[in-house]
Assembly symmetry: C2
DNA sequence: AGCTCTTATGAATCATTGA
DNA sequence: GTCAATGATTCATAAGAGC
């Protein structure tokens, strides 16, 4: 089956994914519907049933992901009755039992998070971006996400002390030496596992789950041009739009019809641009 | 038993705490020895036995903490065999079963962590600060940790200084004038649950678990002057030194004798300063 | 064009009200 | 009582308007 660069499919990813072959995608990145007790909101899976709801779907993710691929899960537990709910950390444990490796936990620091004042709580300004893999040898293009060197590095390099110039072994004996002087003259540095992004939301018809910069960062990091990206809860299509712009093919799955239409409309321009340049890729189907 | 403002006790907190009465402390804050496979490092509890090792101790913490008190646990799981270890999130679940409320997870973003490069991993620049409570009604002084407003506000306030005040006062009814009134005297804002602190490490004889700014923030937030702070794994005494400076009484417990001596020496100056001003507090013992 | 200033808007929480 | 909906609170951004 021939597909365009980006494709939005309507349905429950549990069923839709059964049409796709094993080891198809290089990256699965998604911000699933959060657990919520209220019926009318998007999703509507209560927190205590969230893991049970998620696992059959992640089993499909595990199947369609390439051995060198990565699964990035953007999620954050809610406060319920004054406590952080535990369904997210229970999900991590369950996913490991399902066969996933819990490789890393990135922090998305939301710079302009929602205001508010409460008697015993500050504003919640971060979310988890959990990285899971099938194997320990996964694709990672670290150079693709390098960032301008921060002020800390400049300051540090200005005042190169004795310990910094001469290579010394770390005090705890970990074996990792530090040679700060090597960094002199560079203007780009590798990032850390903390991402500072605003919750930018140009889209008025859908409360975007994540800002485009978030999937962009992970798509650059974990895929090459022409690779395949899957977002099984694609919402208004942010992931596919970004993937298309970065010349990755993508599949987005969304349960709600109104979002599907929205996403398909948004994709037209990006899709057209790529077709102009004559690049077409194919996603394998069963 | 009469105690000075800050006191360092040598021993395993599991046993030392048995000398203290129920509901004694307003804040327990600590950065416990990390799980580690290597013998020679501090602690040396293997990851898979960490929860089992921790729970009897946290049972004592639960007992000696006041109902309005807070327990802050600074911890981060290590990478082992390419994966984030799960002992920390398993600890969260176990602590809840022990009776703790998991109120919040603060992120300590380490702004100036050393650069490093690994084939499939970036620098780990954050740690968890887990907040646990005995009850939902705990003490929290939000005003004590307000932070300067962001650049946006600063720019605006600077611009206001340049302008002629009289001229704007004459423009009655304009939105601009109204906003001036709102911002006058408001250069502080409430923080979020992400703390941006450098890993300041002036102490060379001990690889400090946390920089003084970390306990300082939580001590200001969760205690008043004269309240009691406990650090059951006090290391070189950072928590007690900070507590003394902030005029809180404190107890630090440390297993290793060389750290105990170090901590006691560091405290002399801070202790002396407080005694000069004639303030003495008492910590209840059984 | 560059400034300066305005305003919309966020996967938020809590307390209260109503069914 | 329990559960669901509503209103109040509040700040960092970006984009837009005005000079």
């Amino acid at each position: 089956m021939r597909v365009t660069t980006a494709e939005i499919k309507q349905g429950d990813c549990l069923k839709v994914l059964q049409d796709f072959a094993d080891n198809t995608f290089d990256l699965i990145i998604t911000s699933p519907p959060y657990a919520d007790r209220r019926k009318h909101t998007y999703g509507g899976v209560p927190p205590e049933k969230y893991v049970e709801w998620f696992l059959p779907r992640s089993e499909q993710f595990l199947r369609v992901l390439k051995p060198t691929g990565t699964f990035v899960l953007n999620i954050k537990e809610k406060v319920e009755n004054g406590e952080r709910h535990t369904f997210v950390i229970e999900l991590i444990l369950s996913l490991r039992r399902q066969g996933w490796l819990w490789t890393e936990e990135f922090i998305w620091h939301k710079k302009n998070c929602y205001p508010g004042k409460w008697p015993n709580r500050f504003r919640d300004s971060w979310e988890r971006c959990l990285q899971f893999n099938k194997t320990r040898k996964f694709k990672m293009n670290q150079g693709a996400v390098m960032v301008p060197m921060g002020d800390w590095a400049k300051t540090r390099l200005k005042a190169l002390g004795k310990n910094d110039v001469v290579r010394f072994d770390s005090q705890v004996g970990s074996g990792f030496g530090k040679n700060i002087a090597n960094w002199k003259g560079r203007d780009l540095a590798y990032p850390t596992n903390v991402l500072h992004l605003a919750t930018e939301c140009g889209n008025k018809s859908h409360s975007a789950a994540f800002p485009p910069a978030l999937p962009e960062w992970f798509i650059k990091l974990f895929t090459d041009e022409g690779d395949s990206v899957l977002d099984p809860f694609v919402g208004s299509g942010t992931t596919c739009a970004v993937a298309a712009r970065l010349r990755r093919q993508s599949v987005g799955i969304e349960l709600h019809r109104q979002y599907v239409e929205l996403a398909q409309q948004d994709l037209k321009s990006a899709d057209w641009q790529l077709l102009e340049k004559g690049k077409r890729y194919e996603i394998r189907k069963r």
